[in-house]
């Protein structure tokens, strides 16, 4: 079904130039397709939760039917090694519909979605037809899906299954039993709600981040509900996004081979103790330096080179330690935050002019970024826990988990570099586009055409290949 164009209204912003052809997601049987232009109707944004009530009721009823269908399909797939076409189509529609609904709820898309889960929504999923599935993976699907469900709960929430997410509690939505656990995407939606009302446009990073959460939702429930036996891919860097990311003065550089030493993985937490002590001591000096930096930057409109260097080294060191602790990187880091000394490193540009007004209100402006960074640490925690078990067993960190962790570290570094250390006045970019982030001087030239996405790496979740 073709989706009707969104109605124009007095709250809509002016015309937006056409976007380039959006890249498609990786070669997973469940792929995200993003054609959203980030325009938002202020009126529907204002009433978004209320407008979604009929959908939430419908989603709840459809969920019950889907569970029944999946149980039947599970028995059939266990014997035949394949979901029957009809059941597969029913569940695929349900997953697609869920993606549309949550895209609408989290402001990742603008138009009111249809009730049938038809393709064509601005945030959509393509789902391949039924394929042969490993009977073992089918038999233990619920158990195998637990890590993915935990990560999904952190990213989006546990739709229709009680409170979950990153500790934000539950939000009653559409009936006593239809409770939605709140994840990172809903926190993003909360901040985006204000931004959309003011600007009539969804901030780029917010839409990109929520697209990541929605893709993970679709792949997780597709896996749980037997649409595929391919494990959800946790890596955020290949989430399709029609626009290039903005330039960033603080970027992450990853030069990690995914190998992990089992012994240092086993002892990772106590091994990090000396670093945590040193980080704590250094933090005291960093607070004083940041305060001084704020005063000087406010006065002269630029961070002094010495302070900038000191704070950049601290931020880099903090990232090294967190990367080590959360298994995003393998080797024991040095204690000085030297650039280029660690496989998961920060590239931090030198001092540049900063807007004095932005500097004056920096702490207040940074509050949403800090909240989001705090919330993303829930994802980093999940990465560390699951990564610990997998690395201990395989001596290798799954690429998806590593990249998800690296994304969190980059965002946290940008949030701190912006709000606390005043290394830049460029607001942190919340989208997971780290492989494409460019330094600000790239602004002078038009962005180069996007490189083709790399081929899908082998499944890197917890399930056996």
């Amino acid at each position: 079904m073709e989706h009707p164009p969104p109605p124009e209204s007095a709250w809509d912003p002016g015309p937006i130039p056409p976007e380039p052809e959006p890249p498609r997601g990786p070669d997973h049987p469940i792929r995200l397709v993003v054609t959203d232009d980030r325009r938002r109707s202020r009126l529907t944004v204002f009433f978004r939760l209320l407008l979604a009530i009929p959908h939430l009721i419908w989603y709840f009823l459809w969920s019950i039917a889907t569970v029944v269908v999946v149980v039947i399909g599970w028995f059939i797939a266990l014997f035949t090694g394949r979901m029957p076409e009809g059941l597969h189509g029913f569940v695929a529609r349900y997953v697609r519909y869920g993606t549309h609904l949550f895209a609408y709820l989290t402001l990742a898309a603008n138009p009111f979605p249809g009730f049938a889960g038809d393709p064509g929504y601005p945030i959509d999923v393509e789902i391949d037809g039924p394929e042969r599935q490993s009977r073992w993976k089918t038999a233990f699907r619920l158990l195998l899906a637990v890590p993915a469900l935990v990560i999904e709960a952190t990213l989006l929430g546990l739709p229709g299954a009680g409170s979950g997410g990153s500790g934000a509690g539950g939000q009653e939505a559409g009936g006593e039993d239809a409770v939605i656990g709140i994840g990172i995407a809903f926190l993003v939606a909360f901040f985006a709600w204000f931004a959309c009302l003011v600007r009539g446009r969804m901030p780029h990073g917010f839409r990109h981040l929520n697209a990541y959460a929605l893709r993970y939702y679709a792949q997780t429930y597709g896996y749980l509900f037997l649409l595929t036996d391919r494990y959800p891919f946790t890596g955020p860097f290949d989430v399709p996004d029609p626009e290039p990311p903005p330039p960033a003065p603080i970027r992450i550089a990853i030069d990690d081979d995914l190998r992990r030493s089992r012994l240092t993985v086993l002892l990772r937490l106590p091994l990090a103790f000396p670093h945590l002590v040193w980080l704590g001591l250094w933090s005291v000096a960093a607070v004083l330096a940041a305060l001084l930096n704020w005063l000087v930057t406010l006065a002269v409109g630029r961070s002094p080179a010495a302070l900038h260097r000191f704070l950049a080294a601290f931020l880099r060191y903090q990232t090294h330690v967190y990367a080590f602790l959360s298994l995003v990187a393998n080797p024991f880091p040095g204690f000085t935050g030297t650039a280029g000394s660690y496989p998961v490193d920060l590239e931090i540009d030198g001092p540049h002019r900063q807007h004095r007004l932005v500097t004056l209100f920096r702490t207040v402006l940074a509050i949403p970024a800090w909240f989001l960074a705090l919330s993303l640490f829930g994802l980093l925690f999940a990465v560390a826990i699951f990564g610990w078990f997998v690395s201990l067993a395989l001596g290798r960190m799954p690429e998806g988990l590593r990249d998800a962790g690296a994304f969190v570290l980059r965002y946290a570094a940008q949030a701190n570099g912006y709000g606390f250390h005043l290394l830049t006045d460029r607001y942190p970019y919340s989208g997971p586009a780290d492989r494409r982030l460019a330094p600000p001087d790239a602004e002078a030239e038009p962005p180069p055409p996007l490189p083709p996405l790399p081929p899908e790496p082998p499944p890197s979740g917890l399930a056996p290949a």
Binding site: T264, L266, P270, P274, T336
Partner: protein, 405 residues
């Protein structure tokens, strides 16, 4: 005389002078207030304990000793292997030489911890079986894990000091290094009582006894505190802690739970104040210094083939040498400790003038801790930091005889 021979002679003279100085200092530190001519009577444990008590204590301790020996051998083996192959973990570090040295030291300790963990769990099982602790297995593993983190932070500091000094002073780092460790030990001893967070002792009988000791017997006036440990153990204990203004007597709440009479607790307070009276903690620090300097020198010698302590490669060897030296020195350490405990017991007898209380206390300790009152003699040099219970009772008897009681 050739220059080389003169140098060797000078070195030999310096070594002899150091050895003589060491011996004089050790003799001065060894001296106690226990009469030199005191002869302990030969006692029979059957006169003080029932056959069942002796059997239970001996059976309990024999297994504990087995665990100890097993863990000792396993730990040493791990360190020997680690000294040979530990170098391969250098590739797990992105830090500089000192950071890499820290990593290697921590991994060595971590491997020993992992090796000893099963022995620790077995020992806990054995203690639980004898109702000596209420700690759970998870508490021990998780607590041990966190304690390992603190240990790692400590060893990292030690490596920072050693390697930091070994870079500018590759052959002489051990002199300022040992001095730094003695300073750190003194700092730790000073700060320790402030970290415990015990409550002041409120029992009027015990408080009054402590005041009497201070006023009539010139024992030092130090605060007496009660530490809550009953959540982890049922073992009764007390300790003297602190230096100068931080001096404290710390009674575990397990010793105040009714198993011991007031006169026995007064004896305990006399014993702990005796430690402070005889300056045992400063003396222990001085002993530590006497061992730290030659120990650090031996480590410096042993690690030269791996480039000395400025190189991370030397760290696994240094760990093995350190543990080996500690093992070799353990007869001396335990002897020094027993010597101090004997002196504190003697002071307690002098100030309380209550040998019955002392005898009852030691008998009670044996029952409560399931301590073998007369352990095999081979355990004395490596395990016995206190005199055997029967020897402590013998000292009570000797005091009685000497004072005409």
């Amino acid at each position: 005389m050739p220059r080389r021979s003169a140098g060797l002679l000078l070195l030999a003279a310096a070594l002899v002078a150091a050895a003589v100085g060491w011996a004089i200092a050790a003799a001065l530190l060894w001296d106690t207030g226990v009469p030199d001519d005191l002869r302990l009577p030969d006692l029979d444990s059957g006169d003080y304990f029932t056959a069942a008590e002796l059997e239970e204590a001996r059976s309990y301790e024999s297994v504990i000793r087995l665990f100890y020996l097993g863990s000792l051998v396993a730990g040493l083996l791990v360190l020997v292997v680690y000294a040979k192959v530990g170098l391969r973990f250098v590739r797990e570090s992105a830090a500089g030489p000192i950071g890499t040295g820290m990593l290697l030291a921590m991994l060595g300790l971590g491997l020993v911890w992992l090796t000893l963990l099963p022995f620790g769990i077995l020992e806990l099982w054995w203690q639980r079986r004898h109702d000596l602790t209420e700690a759970g297995y998870a508490d021990v593993v998780v607590g041990g894990w966190l304690a390992l983190g603190v240990e790692f932070a400590g060893i990292s500091l030690a490596i920072l000091i050693v390697m930091g000094l070994a870079r500018p002073l590759p052959r002489l780092w051990w002199i300022p290094g040992a001095a730094a460790f003695v300073g750190l030990a003194a700092l730790g001893a000073f700060v320790y009582p402030y970290l415990g967070g015990g409550e002041p002792l409120r029992d009027p009988v015990l408080v009054e006894a402590a005041e009497r000791f201070e006023q009539e017997d010139d024992l030092p006036d130090v605060p007496i505190e009660v530490a809550e440990v009953s959540a982890y153990t049922t073992a009764p204990n007390a300790q003297a802690a602190g230096l100068g203004p931080s001096r404290r007597v710390i009674l575990w709440d397990t010793i105040l739970d009714g198993r011991f009479e007031d006169d026995e607790l007064v004896f305990v307070i006399g014993h702990e104040l005796g430690h402070h009276e005889s300056a045992h903690l400063p003396k222990a620090l001085a002993w530590y210094a006497l061992f730290a300097f030659p120990g650090a020198w031996l480590i410096a010698l042993a690690t030269r083939r791996r480039g000395g302590m400025r190189e991370p490669a030397a760290v696994p060897v240094a760990l093995l040498v350190l543990v080996g030296l500690q093992l070799l020195a353990s007869p001396a350490f335990t002897a020094i400790s027993r010597n101090m405990e004997r002196e504190a017991d003697w002071i307690a007898l002098d100030v309380t003038e209550d040998p019955d209380a002392g005898r009852d206390l030691f008998e009670g300790f044996s029952t409560a801790l399931l301590a073998d009152p007369d352990p095999p003699s081979w355990t004395t040099p490596i395990l016995q930091t206190h005199p055997a219970i029967l020897d402590r009772i013998a000292m009570v008897e000797a005091w009685e005889e000497r004072n005409g009681r």
